[in-house]
């Protein structure tokens, strides 16, 4: 019996356990239910939980053993039966515990509390797993490839037969260039949209425009990527790059940057909207009362007051742009180079992570392992940006609370 079936069957057992526990509780109580310490449903739940948790615990142990390699990966059938046996044992044990003095409710609450706590630990576990797997494989990579060449190398030419040049600088340049263009597009548009929404727009315009802009945020990035590949890229190539003699590549830094800018507009605008709304109304009233126009109020009072928050929002948007994958995979191209011409194809860290890990290269070669080093770099950059941005935003919020 495979583990997935064992899980389903033990779920059924838990339901049966609930019914058995309840019936036994009624039987023990006799004619007067008030003789029980807990209500019969709690007795039912306690039996169901002991049975299910026992099965789940054995399953968890089996999975751990599998992962560490102590157990054959496909030794499923035996373990399925063991899981089932544990669930039945749990059921029987839970059922025998029932009597009128048994504090079923307290037991159930303790178990539920434990489960809740475990669930909240998963976030930490995920972060730990990310960091560990990245560091572990990056360590492997640096045993095969010198870290100085990785961080300071200006050439990116992976080869199948080895002797690859794997310098991160051209990728970093492409990433930053594209992110810069994306911010150049999204920050003014997003910020002005937010200002207009919160200071000028009538409720009618707001109720119409706000959901539309939020719709942009709900569109998956693959859609933006396809848009870049099929529409924006050819458009820029045919009407700008070729007539100006700047290149003839459909995928370019500008293509990816523009489309990513569109993607970030709702992100910037909703963040700045929150921040602008957090500026106390008294500041606005004061400025308006002194005779300034609404735009002067915004420019000279609201924006300076909201500046730290806006900076935080821009940093968050930058971290989004740096970590974005699908738009650059489809829109930016794959040529690792350091150039200032925005109509040329360049590549980013995320593009190379995808191409190094989806190719056919051997997993233990530096060409594949470099993806983990790139991933770690990406993780550290975005994490640093986020921590700084969240710190700024939080600090700013406290100021006006």
């Amino acid at each position: 019996m495979s583990l997935s079936w064992a899980l389903l069957v033990s779920l059924g057992l838990a339901c049966a356990g609930y019914l058995i526990g309840r019936r036994r509780a009624f039987a023990v109580a006799g004619p007067d239910v008030r003789r029980l310490h807990s209500r019969p449903t709690y007795h039912g739940f306690s039996v169901a939980l002991t049975s299910f948790i026992a099965g789940l615990a054995v399953m968890f142990i089996a999975t751990i053993l599998r992962m560490t390699g102590t157990l054959d990966v496909y030794a499923g059938p035996i373990w399925g039966w063991i899981v089932l046996a544990a669930a039945i044992l749990g059921l029987v044990w839970g059922a025998t515990r029932i009597d009128s003095g048994y504090k079923a409710r307290n037991a159930v609450e303790r178990m539920v509390m434990g489960v809740l706590m475990l669930c909240s630990m998963i976030a930490i576990l995920t972060t730990a797993a990310i960091v560990l797997s990245l560091i572990f494989e990056t360590g492997h990579f640096f045993q095969l490839y010198d870290w100085k060449d990785f961080f300071f190398g200006t050439e990116w030419t992976p080869r199948f037969q080895g002797e690859s040049e794997l310098g991160i600088l051209p990728l970093l340049w492409g990433t930053l260039y594209i992110s810069f263009i994306a911010l150049l597009v999204s920050v003014p548009i997003g910020l002005f949209a937010a200002i207009y929404m919160s200071e000028y727009a009538s409720p009618k315009v707001r109720s119409f425009a706000k959901p539309l802009i939020e719709l942009l945020a709900g569109i998956p990035t693959i859609v933006y990527g396809l848009f870049a590949l099929m529409t924006v890229g050819p458009l820029l190539r045919d009407y700008f790059a070729q007539p100006m003699g700047l290149g003839n590549s459909g995928s370019s830094v500008l293509t990816a940057g523009l489309v990513m800018g569109i993607m970030l507009i709702p992100f910037v605008s909703s963040l700045s909207d929150d921040i602008i709304n957090a500026v106390p109304q008294s500041l606005r009233d004061g400025a308006l009362g002194l005779g300034s126009t609404p735009s002067e109020t915004v420019r000279q009072v609201v924006l300076p007051a909201a500046l730290p928050g806006v900076v935080g929002a821009v940093l968050l948007a930058a971290s989004r742009a740096i970590g974005e994958t699908m738009i650059v995979v489809l829109g930016a191209g794959a040529a690792a180079q350091m150039s200032v011409n925005p109509f040329e194809a360049m590549t980013t860290i995320t593009v190379k992570i995808v191409s190094q890990l989806t190719g056919d290269s051997d997993f233990n070669s530096p060409e594949a392992l470099v993806a983990f080093a790139l991933g770690l770099t990406l993780f550290v950059i975005t994490l640093a940006l986020n921590i700084v941005a969240l710190y700024i935003v939080r600090k700013y919020r406290e100021q006006y609370e």
């Binding site: 495979s2 997935s4 389903l8 599998r66 509390m113 809740l116 669930c119 909240s120 630990m121 998963i122 976030a123 990310i130 797997s133 572990f136 997003g190 910020l191 002005f192 949209a193 200002i195 207009y196 929404m197 000028y200 727009a201 425009a209 539309l212 802009i213 719709l215 942009l216 709900g218 569109i219 998956p220 990035t221 693959i222 859609v223 990527g225 396809l226 848009f227 590949l229 099929m230 507009i265 126009t293 609404p294 735009s295 002067e296 915004v298 989004r320 970590g323 994958t325 699908m326 995979v329 489809l330 995320t350 992570i353 890990l357 993806a371 991933g375 990406l378 975005t382 994490l383 969240l390």
Partner: protein, 452 residues
């Protein structure tokens, strides 16, 4: 403060400031600046809305063609010599006959049809006639014959897929000019298609197969569909629903209602807000390192995709669930505790039901986000070319499958432009799913929203 007497010599205001009714130069420039500023704001919103409209219109315009497909209706004489040389109609023997022989049967059928209809076109060569029907058609006929061996020797009406170039011609993707430069088609072939269309043998109609077919190889875009991808996405969403929702809600209940204020809970909270901002591709790397290399789960299986997406959506679900729990006023908890409920009872019997609409909305939005996610799935091998449907649940979770957004990416990497149309078509399906989920979320929010 006393008013200055108006008769003072300094009261020559009229010279300097002028009337209140007529604007002086400074006021004029200030008002102009005001107007400009307002226009900038309106323009910004206009650009955003325009971008949205252009995006949707181009995608829908490009993808609408994927839902229509050209079919050719042909009487096919199933020549017994070619497809059943032994002549005993034994299905096991007949299944050894490859699609190649059926291709010959079909070529003959097209030839016959052309001469029967008395179509004469200059420069029409045999290759043109062969390319008229899709390569998929021969396996279509083969399957039908293997199902019912009695058909051998008879003349049966078949409805087969037209070739990709012919289909493109009726969707304006292929023109006479482009056909001249194209090795896979020729103007004569297109004229033949026109002639067949006039006689009603070639029709372009709604294409259910796009929704149900699996992916097809590079040479036959006309047969490719999103069936496996939809099923794969569905399996993954199921995994996310079963894992992320209970775990996310449990974690938020603990953090919001029970957790003591200490170092550990602080760390968990900072952790969650940072996890929400980790680039999705990093989760893909985690999935590759932890679930495939370390735990030994199979590549391109929905279970791995589901696990990765679960980890990715957990922070979103936790954040929105906590907001929903926080919105329930403390008086509810106090009242429950006041009449003797335990802390656990007050949460599960009173707070949680009241927070449910908010939790549901957040969950649906998290699921929608997971449905559209591509990057992490690329790394765990979901880009593989899959033409087999995965088994039913739960075994199917371990079978190779595709996912909708990954299928789109996969098609953009093919050389035939017909696949771009398919990719846009798949996007339309994805967007329809997302729209439904978001509408459901909005409906739930409107219906159950409660102001305290």
């Amino acid at each position: 403060m006393t008013d200055l007497p108006l008769s003072q010599p300094g009261a020559a205001r009229t010279d300097k400031a002028g009337s209140l009714l007529a604007q002086d130069a400074r006021i004029k420039s200030r008002n102009a600046a005001e107007k400009r500023f307002r226009t900038y704001g309106a323009t910004a919103i206009g650009i955003a809305v325009l971008a949205l409209v252009v995006l949707l219109v181009t995608i829908i315009g490009n993808g609408a063609g994927a839902f229509r497909q050209s079919y050719l209706t042909l009487p096919v004489t199933l020549d017994a010599e070619l497809i059943d040389p032994e002549g005993n109609r034994d299905p096991t023997e007949m299944s050894q006959i490859l699609t190649l022989s059926y291709g010959r049967v079909l070529d003959q059928a097209v030839q016959d049809a052309i001469s029967a209809q008395n179509i004469q076109i200059e420069g029409l060569v045999e290759d043109d006639i062969r390319g008229l029907i899709s390569r998929e058609a021969s396996s279509q006929v083969r399957n039908r014959v293997l199902e019912d061996p009695e058909l051998v020797g008879q003349t049966v009406e078949f409805n087969v897929l037209a070739g990709g170039r012919i289909d493109g011609y009726f969707k304006n993707r292929v023109t006479m000019e482009s056909a001249e430069r194209d090795g896979n088609t020729s103007p004569a072939q297109l004229m033949l298609a026109d002639a067949l269309k006039e006689r009603g043998m070639l029709v372009t109609r709604f294409n259910w197969n796009f929704l149900t077919n699996p992916d097809a190889s590079d040479q036959r875009p006309e047969a490719a569909g999103v069936g496996v991808a939809i099923l794969g996405s569905l399996y993954m969403m199921l995994v996310v629903l079963v894992l992320a929702v209970p775990i996310g809600v449990a974690a938020s209940i603990y953090l919001e209602e029970f957790a003591p204020k200490n170092r550990l809970t602080d760390i968990i909270e900072v952790n969650i807000s940072n996890l929400a901002a980790v680039p999705s591709i990093v989760f893909g790397i985690l999935g590759l390192a932890a679930f495939i290399n370390f735990a030994g789960l199979p590549q391109s299986a929905p279970i791995v995709g589901g696990l990765v997406l679960t980890l990715m959506t957990l922070p979103t679900i936790i954040i929105s669930t906590r907001a929903a729990l926080k919105a329930v006023p403390p008086s509810i908890r106090d009242a429950a505790l006041g009449v003797g409920a335990s802390k656990m009872q007050s949460v599960f019997h009173h707070v949680l039901p009241l927070a449910m609409p908010g939790i549901l909305t957040g969950t649906i939005i998290g699921l929608a986000q997971a449905l559209g996610e591509t990057a992490p799935l690329l790394l765990i091998g979901m880009v593989a070319f899959v033409t087999e449907y995965p088994d039913p649940l739960p075994q199917g979770l371990f079978d190779p499958a595709s996912a909708l957004p990954v299928q789109v990416y996969n098609w953009t990497q093919r050389s035939d432009p017909a696949f771009f149309e398919r990719a846009s078509g798949a996007i339309i399906i994805l967007l329809i799913f997302l729209l439904c989920m978001n509408l459901l979320a909005i409906y739930l929010r409107r219906k159950f929203e409660r102001r305290w």
